[in-house]
Symmetry: C2
Subunit: 92 residues, 2 copies
């Protein structure tokens, strides 16, 4: 799915379907931490003008980034994934 | 799944699995409306101390309410679903 020279970031699953995407599940200690992370991801998404698909419950968040060009993962998709990792690393 | 005298609210799907739950998908015109709805649902959830499972993208939100007693849907689950419907009806 990815460009042959594109590295899937650690912990992200490119999926097995035809769609080029990156999936990752994040865990949290409580709802407050979860919501804070969701708010940060929303701000990032608004800044980028790209909104991933997100599912969440009290203490988890799943994020799916679809390849923006619809076919292959590109640098911009990977960079977005790494930004989300950065937000997670800053959780309280 | 539900108490025999409990009415599943309109548009909510009680699912087909063993788990007693209520599912509904809401659509929105744009991300701003989606995020506003998500924020309102978060406030409601915090007030109730109960957090449904939510998945969303740019213009949709899926909500799954699991029966709080783990077995059967009760008044409190249905009331929560109706509150979410009310928030949706107030969208901008």
């Amino acid at each position: 799915m990815a460009d042959s020279d594109l590295v899937v970031p650690e912990g992200w699953d490119p999926g097995r379907g035809k769609a080029a995407q990156l999936n990752k599940r994040y865990s949290f200690e409580g709802y407050g931490q979860t919501r804070d992370f969701l708010d940060r991801v929303a701000e990032l998404s608004e800044g980028e003008g790209y909104h991933p698909n997100i599912s969440f419950g009290t203490t988890y968040v799943n994020i799916t980034i679809d390849a923006r060009n619809g076919e292959r993962l590109e640098e911009t998709d990977v960079a977005f994934a790494l930004e989300i990792d950065r937000l997670y690393s800053e959780k309280g």
